[in-house]
């Protein structure tokens, strides 16, 4: 599990916290802006929690804005934070577009930008922090191939079409299914990362294809919706349900058996690393263009450790 990338990330994280301490020693009030896409999604709320706890430990002022899924609103908010005089920006793009405008605006104002989770292709941040979604989804796919013996009717609850995580997780899953023609995809529809949409769409999919044997949620929330739909539908055969993210509620669902597996992202580390990276950029340090964090396949066998101590 501990490959070279983990080591690099760990070393970077250590180095960053050292420089963060050094910066604090200068006794300057540092203000960092955190632009989040939508706090109705638990994943981002978890990042908010981790980042603000870490900022408080370091004695940094952290300003948080929530775009409510609206990329235009987010441009306004970033503009406002720049007017307010933030020293560095942590930008988690909203909407499918991953608008380049906030990055450009911050860079025009001479403010370093850390992008998190999604990166505008035409104007990347000074450093980009994300999970290795492709590898994580590949692990999920390989797990499914193993569990179903390579024959399954697969239904996919997609994320918002066109977003980086949706594209990367699709790619990973398809890589795992390659060479296994028995893994047949019978339905795929966007549930937009939402539990209630996942529930409804899964219900309709089961109505149309009662012999579905696998539900892949591109994130945990729609996967949990699908699990509920299966429970309600009284199906007479085993249906495998997998998610992605490793949200605390989903980890409990894995422990209790309503989800079979998820891929746990190091959400808390992401929150902390984004603050540390922003501080390092302020110190004038060079950071790698991409800092990819490992994602761990989580089943009932290893879930307890993640519940007790979320990475």
């Amino acid at each position: 599990m501990f490959n070279r990338r983990t080591l690099i990330a760990a070393t970077a994280a250590f180095g960053l916290s050292v420089s963060a301490t050094a910066l604090m020693a200068q006794n300057e009030q540092v203000t960092i802006g955190l632009a989040l896409p939508s706090l109705t999604l638990d994943f981002f709320d978890q990042i908010r929690g981790a980042a603000s706890a870490h900022a408080e430990d370091l004695g940094i002022e952290l300003i948080i804005v929530d775009a409510n899924g609206d990329s235009a609103r987010q441009v306004d908010q970033v503009q406002d934070m720049i007017s307010r005089g933030i020293d560095a920006l942590v930008y988690v793009p909203a909407g499918a577009t991953a608008a380049a405008v906030p990055v450009r605006a911050a860079q025009r104002a001479g403010i370093p930008v850390v992008t998190l989770d999604r990166n505008p292709p035409n104007a990347p941040g000074d450093t980009f922090i994300a999970s290795d979604s492709v590898a994580g989804a590949r692990n999920i796919g390989e797990y499914l191939v193993e569990m179903t013996g390579g024959t399954a009717k697969v239904a996919i609850l997609q994320g918002q079409i066109g977003t980086t995580p949706e594209i990367a997780r699709d790619q990973g899953l398809m890589e795992a299914f390659e060479g296994h023609p028995g893994m047949e995809i019978v339905a795929a529809q966007p549930a937009n990362w939402l539990q209630d949409q996942g529930f409804n769409i899964a219900q309709d999919m089961l109505q149309a294809n009662p012999d579905i044997t696998v539900f892949v949620g591109r994130s945990d929330a729609p996967a949990m919706g699908a699990a509920q739909a299966i429970k309600v539908a009284n199906i007479d055969h085993k249906i495998w349900v997998v998610g992605f993210d490793g949200l605390p509620v989903a980890l409990e669902a894995v422990r209790d058996g309503s989800l079979d597996a998820t891929a746990t992202q190091q959400t808390n580390l992401m929150g902390r690393l984004s603050i540390d990276s922003a501080l390092a950029l302020l110190q004038g340090e060079e950071l790698p263009a991409e800092q990819l964090l490992d994602v761990t396949l989580t089943t009932s066998e290893n879930v307890q450790g993640f519940i007790e101590n979320h990475p």
Binding site: S71, Q79, A96, T97, V101
Partner: protein, 327 residues
């Protein structure tokens, strides 16, 4: 209904200005109070650069709210503007990026596409007698679907440099082209509505369309064109948003119909029709913009922001009700 009667009379310029100011006093005092509180709470609010930022930020909402003002004045409502904005931005984007149509023509086509949606709203309301709430609710869903179909749900990023500079470069250090467009549109519509016979007829329709019809006003034709115009302003909104984001997204403008209606209502318009003005709407738009901007500047938690914005909407309308009752 006194304001209408007053409007019908000819009167000198001075009393016209006084009358106009009277009509928007409530919202105007609210806006000034808000600015006062915000400039006391943070140094970064009352700076030239920040106030220009606010103008940039409210432009799309403002342009759409102008169209909505007309609809609300005649006692209607348009829930489809957010989705029509998405149709406009996607039609423009797809024509330019996939079909290689030059941007100016693609921009026109985007606005036209939204106008067609507005026309359909008009047909439903005027010809088929569907209540405007239901007709435009249906259009909201249809238009969102159309916006998604144009590119199969994916976004378009990166336009020509001159296009995004329309909302970036501030001419004379003050106005970007997009903000100038908003101000121009507000002035033209404000003058037409207050000083042209067309405006008086629109107020008359809002006061009671049967009476207006008996008075010889072609209420059906006016209603039709007002829905088309509201679609056109949503179309403008789609183009303006694309310059601001340098991209087009089929999920753009989700829920914006509610912001737009809120702006018009905060500006003193009545949802039962006949009362309201462009000046009031512009102030309503500025109240929403200044409030969001200020809360971000102060650094108030996003959860508290939602509560504050809701309270301000409720408070603005309560104030107006009290004023009307006394007045």
């Amino acid at each position: 209904m006194e304001p209408i009667a007053k409007r019908m009379q000819k009167r000198p310029l001075l009393s016209a200005v006084v009358g106009w100011l009277k009509q928007i006093t409530g919202p105007l005092i609210g806006l000034l109070l808000l600015c006062l509180v915000l400039s006391l709470m943070t140094d970064s609010f009352l700076t030239k650069n920040n106030l220009l930022n606010v103008m940039d930020q409210v432009t799309v909402l403002g342009v759409m709210a102008i169209g909505m003002t007309f609809v609300i004045l005649i006692g209607g409502i348009d829930l489809s503007v957010g989705a029509l904005l998405a149709v406009s931005t996607m039609v423009m984007g797809a024509l330019n990026a996939y079909a290689g149509v030059p941007l100016p023509i693609a921009m026109l086509a985007g606005v036209m596409a939204a106008a067609i949606g507005g026309f359909a709203n008009g047909v439903l309301v005027v010809q088929l007698g569907v209540p405007s709430f239901v007709a435009t609710l249906a259009m909201m869903s249809i238009a969102r679907g159309v916006a998604n179909i144009t590119t199969d749900g994916t976004q378009i990023t990166g336009y020509s440099a001159w296009f995004s500079e329309l909302s970036i470069i501030r001419y004379g250090g003050l106005l970007s082209a997009t903000v100038a467009f908003f101000i121009f549109l507000a002035l033209v519509c404000g003058v037409l509505l207050s000083y042209h016979t067309m405006g008086r007829k629109i107020y008359a329709i809002g006061g009671g369309s049967e009476v207006a019809r008996l008075a010889g006003i072609r209420a059906r034709a006016y209603t039709m064109w007002i829905y088309v115009f509201c679609g056109v302003t949503a179309g403008f909104g789609g183009v303006l948003l694309a310059t601001r984001l340098d991209s087009s997204d089929p999920s753009a403008g989700l829920g914006w119909e509610l912001d737009t209606i809120a702006a018009v209502v905060i500006g003193g318009a009545s949802l039962s029709g006949g009362v309201g003005s462009i000046g009031g709407t512009v102030i309503g738009v500025l109240i929403i913009g200044v409030l969001r901007n200020g809360l971000n500047l102060i650094g108030i938690s996003p959860f508290i922001q939602q509560i504050v914005i809701g309270l301000v909407i409720a408070f603005a309308v309560i104030l107006d009700q009290l004023r009307l009752r006394r007045g």
